[in-house]
Symmetry: C2
DNA sequence: CTCCTTAATGCGACTGATTCGCATTTGCAT
DNA sequence: ATGCAAATGCGAATCAGTCGCATTAAGGAG
């Protein structure tokens, strides 16, 4: 499994021990197309037969976020934080306000805009998040209020 | 005070009673250039000598969000939700990852991009949030890691 | 202006996500 | 193989946010 070695290198580079739990967490995050909550991640791992505690999941996510390996999304699911592994290209999301489906989008048209803002505000932009809300194809027909 | 009447009308229109607490909350939100947490709002009001309980603040914010008078931002401050009054034009934000300063930005270049995505994913976009992270002028000199 | 209905509020208990302390285990450098 | 610091598990603790219920007050009717 070459991913295992990739993770080992990533962790090593950040002076983090290469534990089996961290490997599993990274694997699970990599496998997920959408951001997941700590709890979902925990349950996924348990289902795979991995014995891990929820606090370990939280702690691993914390340290991975700190080391910039994982991103904590800025939209939440029912007050639960969501996490996703940082991939080559960063992603944005279309979030369905009705069924909560999340569609990742790879394109990002912001660099130009960002540059302009940096000049105007003397602000050095290091990252950004863009989330779009609305109704997915399935829910599109009846845009009744459902939160935002 | 004409704002008072404006608020009264807004509340009435939504079948909400025009209570002094709601007036104070709307005033405080209007006065704030940045999104604030329920707790900050609560403390602000107490400082002004207004006797109010934290649950009233939460309940008022909830109902105002539901009625689309107030927006709950999708980025949080230390796990605390932030709220801002909806103004004419929606806003984006530059968030300093070091000092946590938030600069509102009025421009929004996304309509075109949004249209393209809608077509591609059959998704009906009703809103979006864009937050940019980096270092403000004051903190710009030393971009040491501080979160994202 | 007073009365009445019911929404709004205060207070304290409660919930649910996340964090923390501490004893135990495990990675990994030597 | 050994030792030590980092990582983990478990349960307790914390903290934002919610809820139940008794009390207060908005605002329409008379």
């Amino acid at each position: 499994m070459e991913d295992k070695n990739r993770y080992r290198r990533m962790l090593k580079k950040e002076n983090l021990r290469n534990t089996s739990h961290r490997q599993s967490i990274l694997e699970a995050l990599e496998a997920s197309e959408e951001p997941v909550s700590a709890e979902t991640l925990y349950l996924t791992l348990r289902e795979k037969g991995i014995s891990i505690s929820i606090s370990t999941v939280y702690r691993a996510l914390d340290v991975l976020v700190e080391k910039d390996i994982v991103a904590k999304t800025d939209f939440t699911d029912n007050n639960k934080s969501l996490f996703e592994i940082k991939r080559e290209e960063h992603r944005h999301h279309l979030v369905c306000v009705k069924c909560r489906k999340i569609i990742p989008v790879k394109e990002c048209p912001f660099y130009e805009y960002a540059g302009e803002l940096e000049e105007r505000f003397g602000f050095s932009i290091t990252g950004h998040k863009l989330e779009m809300y609305g109704y997915c194809q399935k829910c599109g027909g009846s845009p009744g209020k459902t939160g935002d």
